[in-house]
């Protein structure tokens, strides 16, 4: 009961409730000291005088606006349209998760996922079939230590 009354206290202070509810709350406040105390607290906080004096912007604001307008007039319309579209999209709640998901998808697609083919290529290149596969019999024997000498010489030896 008290929580429901206290929720409505601000509306009561501002007179934003129907007459019947206002009367019911008034009656409750007259008998409940806890709620009456809450009411007084709210009046002291919410009912205090509001700062109504208006703040003034910087005197240089007009100069800055003129500068931006000048830039706008010099820039083609489609550029502004594009910038606005990008800004609108990036402010959408889904923009950041979508960007992160796109990065993950890109990384996944760019990573090789077929080790079998790689291993098969390795076995072919190191096996007997390498000579026929790569036409290694067309090459002279390489001196030891030369790049690729292990592969070619093994192939020649196997042959």
């Amino acid at each position: 009961m008290h929580t429901r009354i206290q929720e409505k206290l601000l509306l009561y202070v501002d007179g934003n409730l129907p007459a019947e509810q206002m009367q019911r709350i008034r009656a409750h406040l007259s008998v409940c000291s806890a709620c009456a105390q809450q009411h007084d607290l709210l009046v002291s906080v919410w009912g205090s005088e509001i700062r109504r004096e208006k703040l003034q912007p910087s005197p240089f604001l007009w100069t800055r606006i003129q500068a931006h307008i000048g830039e706008y007039e010099r820039t083609p319309a489609f550029v502004w349209g594009f910038k606005r579209a990008v800004r609108e999209i990036m402010l959408r709640p889904f923009a950041v998760p979508a960007a992160i998901a796109a990065i993950f998808v890109g990384v996944y697609l760019g990573t090789p996922h077929e080790p079998q083919r790689y291993e098969r290529a390795q076995s072919v290149s190191h096996g007997v079939g390498a000579v026929d596969e790569f036409g290694l019999d067309q090459f002279d024997v390489l001196p030891p230590g030369a790049l690729g000498s292990t592969l070619v010489n093994v192939s020649h030896t196997q042959k």
């Binding site: 206290q6 929720e7 409505k8 206290l9 601000l10 509306l11 501002d14 934003n16 809450q38 607290l41 709210l42 002291s44 906080v45 919410w46 205090s48 005088e49 509001i50 700062r51 109504r52 208006k54 703040l55 003034q56 912007p57 910087s58 604001l61 007009w62 800055r64 606006i65 931006h68 307008i69 706008y72 502004w80 990036m90 402010l91 950041v96």
Partner: protein, 190 residues
Amino acid sequence: MNEHDLVKELHGRNPAAFKELFDSYSTLVYNVAHRMLQDKRDAEDVTQEVFLEAYKSLTNFRAESQLSTWLYRIAVNRSLNHQRKKKLHRWLALDFDTTENSVDKLRLHGANEDGPDAVMEKKDIERIVQGAINSLPDRQRTALLLHRYEELSYDDIAGVMGVTIASVESLLHRAKQSLASKLLRLKKEL
């Protein structure tokens, strides 16, 4: 120049008319932005954006509403966008401090050091109220700020927010219900 003539001149992109628009409404726009953002620099940035947006959209303004309502609408939307952009930048910078403009920050800075019996100064009270309002959802906060500080009627608020009067009443009702418990809690703790 009355509003009708001013709008006519603005459609013709008369520079003097635009200057008059700025002179007449820059304070209004700046104060709305400041209420929503609680920062002078941000409020100036938003004011700049509002008038630039107004300049670009002058030919689209059909005078179905008042100039003030139109500018209020742009100011509110820009302020909310600015706030979201700041939150996004903080999130991307891995700054997860949620105390900015929140109720917790008032606990950190709002206590009156003179002791519990000291009379709370007006600015402390205002800070409490503003902090509690800032913790409301965007639409409730917007409606409450426009009603309480800009003293707009329900009809005007509905025009600014693009909703019905019934929606405005509902937003204000829910806002005040939430605020009651927040204010009581804050006042007790400080």
